[in-house]
Symmetry: D2
Subunit: 338 residues, 4 copies
Amino acid sequence: MIIVMKPNASMEAINNVVSFVQSQGLDTHLSHGHEVTIIGVVGDKTVLADKNLEIKEGVDRIVAVTESYKLANKKFHPEPTVVKVGNANIGGNNLVIMSGPCAVESADQVLETAIAIKKAGAQILRGGAYKPRTSPYSFQGMEEDGLRLMKEAKDATGLPVVCEVTSLAAVEAAVKYVDMLQIGARNMQNFFLLKEVGKTGLPVLLKRGLSATIDEWLNAAEYILAEGNPNVVLCERGIRTFETATRNTLDLAAVPVIRQKSHLPIIVDPSHATGVRDYVKPLAFASVAAGADGLMIETHPCPEKALSDGPQSLTFAQFEELCDTLRPLSAMMGKPLL
Amino acid sequence: MIIVMKPNASMEAINNVVSFVQSQGLDTHLSHGHEVTIIGVVGDKTVLADKNLEIKEGVDRIVAVTESYKLANKKFHPEPTVVKVGNANIGGNNLVIMSGPCAVESADQVLETAIAIKKAGAQILRGGAYKPRTSPYSFQGMEEDGLRLMKEAKDATGLPVVCEVTSLAAVEAAVKYVDMLQIGARNMQNFFLLKEVGKTGLPVLLKRGLSATIDEWLNAAEYILAEGNPNVVLCERGIRTFETATRNTLDLAAVPVIRQKSHLPIIVDPSHATGVRDYVKPLAFASVAAGADGLMIETHPCPEKALSDGPQSLTFAQFEELCDTLRPLSAMMGKPLL
Amino acid sequence: MIIVMKPNASMEAINNVVSFVQSQGLDTHLSHGHEVTIIGVVGDKTVLADKNLEIKEGVDRIVAVTESYKLANKKFHPEPTVVKVGNANIGGNNLVIMSGPCAVESADQVLETAIAIKKAGAQILRGGAYKPRTSPYSFQGMEEDGLRLMKEAKDATGLPVVCEVTSLAAVEAAVKYVDMLQIGARNMQNFFLLKEVGKTGLPVLLKRGLSATIDEWLNAAEYILAEGNPNVVLCERGIRTFETATRNTLDLAAVPVIRQKSHLPIIVDPSHATGVRDYVKPLAFASVAAGADGLMIETHPCPEKALSDGPQSLTFAQFEELCDTLRPLSAMMGKPLL
Amino acid sequence: MIIVMKPNASMEAINNVVSFVQSQGLDTHLSHGHEVTIIGVVGDKTVLADKNLEIKEGVDRIVAVTESYKLANKKFHPEPTVVKVGNANIGGNNLVIMSGPCAVESADQVLETAIAIKKAGAQILRGGAYKPRTSPYSFQGMEEDGLRLMKEAKDATGLPVVCEVTSLAAVEAAVKYVDMLQIGARNMQNFFLLKEVGKTGLPVLLKRGLSATIDEWLNAAEYILAEGNPNVVLCERGIRTFETATRNTLDLAAVPVIRQKSHLPIIVDPSHATGVRDYVKPLAFASVAAGADGLMIETHPCPEKALSDGPQSLTFAQFEELCDTLRPLSAMMGKPLL
């Protein structure tokens, strides 16, 4: 941590800050420049976390030198993490595709989808039972009934399932049925929920918030890891910008940035990022070429009749074509699709 | 609702869309332009909510003409809503100031603050007992003990209190102690939580999400209103943009925009919007001049020792000076500070 | 400047960086932390400007401690600058209002406007002769004929005039007619043009770019000041964000931020910021309450017939009402409207 | 174009709008809904461009149905455009890579680079002679001397050259030396400059503005096309968002969106988008996989000594490795690297 003093800071103010920092058991290094003095702080800076150095007399600003997340940090955990969900190894040697409908609607829909996506090459079935919707008048999900249908589809096909949870009640229900819990973009900083999914020990798919920096995202992962649950998979799904041609702006640079900063696996969801079916395939390709560990792709037996996000869902035929054309690319990238 | 067809849409495709819309009990009006055909839809469009018209053959896009929120909409409820919290009437004839620490830390801190802000002119005491923090290693709040201290400060001073809730457990605890529940920016689209605070019937302070449009914000209010709870107060607290000179970008245009679209009261929080104590006063003035119904201002007996957000907190002397200088302005704007 | 080394940087790498910096005539201070080593650099850092320290072996990142703008910086020029335009003193003891049409359309339009706004209280006439328009098929301005009409209105009323310039040819024409040159938002980083307006010595109104940080804005001002022209007035006019309820998001925090970082005057343009006539008055009030030195307000004899930006223009009656109601507020803020 | 009336619009107001539109030679279709009336407008809407319908009595808002750009629009020009620059065909059957230094610094630097990138597989040499820099104290480019060095490198290697122009004077100089003119991100809405490069008839590389929507970008292209110059290549180079881990946020969805809306070729610049050398390769791969027609990659004989943007420049060895590993991917995408 570096404390930058104001140009006009008095020696007394500088000394006061230095004394305070040292009183907390930390060392300091002073550097008197022509314009300003800076104070380097050495030691365990967490003891300064709530000390408001910014408003001490003469202080201009504080510059963090090290990240606040530790367990998610590659510096302290250089080996890549592989998260096992059923037979799928996310972050391992294969590209893992999760697919399924935005919302669980019926037993037939889910089962039909599970069979079709498994045949095409997907390894995990997704499906929303608790749906966060902008308007209270939109379909809100089948809740526990939806979870049960997912479990039935799993039992029939062997595909592990991932479902979003939006409350403690949903977590308590989901652990009875699913293989992986999903935290949606709108709940990425629902810290209460992060702790709860951390406690379950189940693998967690953590979607990036619409306006979350990569740093905040890794801090959200830290909440889960800090509960003793190492099984976190990150999912880039687009951030909010001024551009309206797509629903969100897919930030594919997140893939190499996460690779550099963290050991956690990262997958990409081009369906939610764009909101437009025609853009899913080119961005799925781009994601794999950027080095993603997996993809989340929405599919529906009949997108026109989907109760949620139909416009971005692929038909089974489109999904199969996507998987088939992805095979050579994924192999070239060193992560063949099984 | 308007359905814009693609330039090359066939008559068959157009007729199919028209038939489908009519089969749902709605009327249509066709308008054949030189380049494209548009289909106006008349009737209760909620029946089309999950029908995915966007991906029907030949459809280019859907343009919404009316808002999805109804209860929050000024069109159907032209009279301004006044929300009563203790003796304070938010949205009424007076400027209402809420003040207090970011986080509840001790009985002394809260009581001392309550006495000081009441004397200066504040009508509601704020204080966080459940703190959403970016890092799991930051102070997370005193939880129910914090709520209890707020209640004690209320009993001693008569000031009603508002506290943030971040989970159902927090709601269940808070209803025993507080006069108003706050939904923080990070939970604005935690729809589960919105429903729960709606059910309590207590007044709710709904902060705008960091990347929420005004339209999404009013839809979030709609979740609360739809539970039969009309007591919603909106709070603009800055949105996330590329600018880093302030923590967030205060969007003061939200005040007149909300006035035009909704009947709900709106207050402004310049403390969280800027994150810098020196900017709080000019933006508090600007908020009142823009027509806000109230302000939320962070104060602390000793900002240097605050466990959360010290750098943006005012001392009691600064807060008193702010209230004193705001008096003539608030009177001029027709909402005198009591 | 602070050089943060990577956690695993070798002593050799650290020594190489230190030697390099010292070879440029600068001093260094080392601070070895538990995780990383940081190198403080003391002296005239401009000699390092193009030295790419970021990619030297072992370097993690560079943290700037001082701003790159000097002439615009309050640290080195603490006294507020007052820019004189005709009889108006921007940044002085009075609120200065500039008003007029988005685009100059005819002699009558401009003269009629000049008379009306002068009567209401404006001190400077604005009007665009060179119009930057998103589409090439929109009205592009009357060019030099427009400048001439502005000059005629000035001669008739005594009001100094400000006109936007968009090219060197426009600058060369404008200097013959106008009292102040405007650089529009889209040209804020047209550095060639900044230098040219700097050379003229005329007062310059520098609008903030749609996606410009305050730091970049002050660096743009620095381009003008570095040509020996001290007469720069900044104009906040909204930045681009995800919100679509207004054309741009007015960043009123820019007013106190600029006050703290620079000695240059700052005015606000609520007309372009919102694009909606109904929002102009509340945001004009907010701007004055935030401490702005002036306002730019669009007016038109008949907004419905304006060739550009009619929807945000006030009628003369609306403008007069605005000025009248602003008088007590501006007086209260210590900058009475003349 | 659709005119949405306010819920309370009177029949008289509706009739007035209809009469006005018809008086301009256009047809109307009325659609009376339960809440609002909408008026569809049929005919050449450009006659309404400056008529300010938004502020006519009773009008709520105007919804554009068709795009304002025509020449750049795929609807009216379905065949993809191929732009020939020297022997390179951008938008044709091969991936075209442009490479070279951010700034021209010396004859040796440019020639050495040209030889190295040609050998690796690049078809066009880039190099900046007029540099837009945030601070006036940064290196501003060699100007015409730089153009001359580019021409010499072209003569020696046969590689066509592209250089950015930032003013009319730069355009007038550049046409004597270069094969393609570049409009940088900061000048994307410098409409004066767009017209000037349009008039030259030379191929133009039009970079997307930092905060430009895709719609505005295509309108900027329209300015060039409207001058009779069909040779426009678009270049996605990142947009400005809140994320700071990369310099900008590369919006790769722009590739399929442009493919759907326009016939113009599109290339991607991952160097400027990220500002970090380590991220260039994964995003170059992603760009090609998303379907880009080409890439712009910065290279420098010695990035540590580059006068501009060294941290994002590749060494020749890194560039060669990039081209080699891109070959199988580009072939797979149907656009082999020559």
